[in-house]
Amino acid sequence: MSLIRLQNISRRYQMGAETIHALREVSLEIDRGEYVAIMGPSGSGKSTLMNLVGCLDTPSSGSYELNGVNTSEMDDNQLAGIRNREIGFVFQTFNLLPRANALRNVELPLIYAGLSNEERKTMALDALTQVGLADRIHHKPNELSGGQRQRVAVARALVTNPSIILADEPTGNLDSRTGEEIMALFETLSRKGNTLIVVTHEEEVARHARRILRIRDGLIASDEKTEKKSGVDAVLAVL
């Protein structure tokens, strides 16, 4: 059974008299443990697809099954629960809470999950250790570099041990070296068995993935598996 199963998903926006077709009848399956890159020109519908997969948005038509559960019939609260348990988001602009330190930012999803203070602290610390920031837990976002901020965001995404980690242009605001660090981190997560979906403009970044989806005008233009990249270990050595 596929982890993600989209069937004839469309997403339309009504702008006055004009209807914008951000996605047109997209069907797609992604299995557990896959590492998928989504590429395509600006405005092609990549973010729209991510938002639908992440249950932030609901399709205009079509059905979406996550873990065998149909999400089309869920209400707002149930979707919030799914996002909390099943999905980890990483954004281009990090989206950390500015006044909270790294530890608290990572704790946040666990607070919404209703975990006790001790459980939260242990898990958040563990996630921050995984991204190599165990010594920065009391720093606020403005006391961290861009790459460190994004690593805090990654820690926040994986702290709940979600089924999927979704990243929308995670390296978009980083220089190429820092971007490579984040991609190496994703590589490690993928090896540990996490399911990853990464939206990107850069071929370099996409090459880390095992599968590349290319989107054009709201349609999947191509869907190909990549050979295992040999340079991965070299990248890991950078860390």
């Binding site: 996002r83 988001f89 950390l96 919404y112």
Partner: protein, 409 residues
Amino acid sequence: MNFFTEVKEGLFIAWDAIRANKLRSILTTLGIVIGVVTVTLMGTAIDGLNRAFLRSVSMLGADVLYLSRTSWFIDSYEEWLKVRDRRDITLAQVRELEKQMTLARAIAPFVDARRPVKYKNRNSSSVVVIGTTEQFQFTSGSVVGQGRFLTAEEADGGRPVCVVGSEVATNLFQQGPALGNKIKVGQQVFEVVGVLEKQGNFLGHFNLDNQVIIPVKQFLGGIWHDPDFEVQVKVIDVKQLEDAKEELRGIMRKIRRVPPGKEDDFAINQQESFISTFNRVAGTIATVGLFITGLSLFVGGIGIMNIMFVSVAERTREIGVRKAIGAKRRTILIQFLIEAASICLLGGVLALAIAWPVTFLIGKFLPATLSLTVAGIALLVSILTGVISGFFPAWRAARMNPVDALRNE
């Protein structure tokens, strides 16, 4: 996430947000502070007014029945028409009553008129002259400061003596001694044998400071030949007030020959009815006063609503992030409600800190203190203001679409 953790988390976030926008929070709070201060002071003043009234009333004792031709309170023209032809209560009737009443400690006939009072070249143009007996000292609860009260013989007979209220004494004699002086009341001359202690003047009805008490016989002789009397009946035991009232009623019906089945042609008043009327008036004052001061609280509430809208707009991104990682609508709603309520609660606490010393100032005029109840209500009202005015902005935040919120720059 359960409600308790939601509230705890909400408090944490609220405190954080308030601290992050110190100046803005203080300015917003100002509206609430002013609102709560005015409401609290109004409440305190009304409370003080009530107490001052009760204190004045109880000076006369709650154990006195006031028999008169008509009720103190005539509510309608119809009622007035019904009672206006009733026969007067005469001194003879009072004498008869004195003989028969068993549950009374003191019975005093009472009649009054306004007359100018003169001492040498000093003048008091409008003094209340009371004609009564020595019993009045007990029924009225007045305390003699200098000299003595009227004696039974004086009340009954001819000696022209009088007891004056403290205000009359100061007006006529200023710093000089009052006792032994002869004053002119109307056309008669009276010797001052006593001066009453100052009673204070909260309600004119009970004020004995601007009065001259003369023997009832003198009153009948010199001021008014056949007046309508009021009779003050002080009962032996306040617990028997109702029994005494029934006894008084029975005796008066007999004395005034009211046929069985017909209603009384007199009225027995009690302070209770006076109190209930006062309560009605005070209630109106309180409603109007609190309404007007409540308006300022309302304005403060609008300020809170405004700033909460700003806060929600500013933190659209944050709301988007919170929703993306699993915050439910309710969680966001509670978060912003608590933030609004916290700002208001802060305002309420500040307001109490301001209102407290001000009540001391009020305390100079009225027996007012900032009671724990008023303080509690003030805090409750401020929290409520926060919740009510914060609801609409919080609701907007809770309903935000996460995708749009995240896209917000």
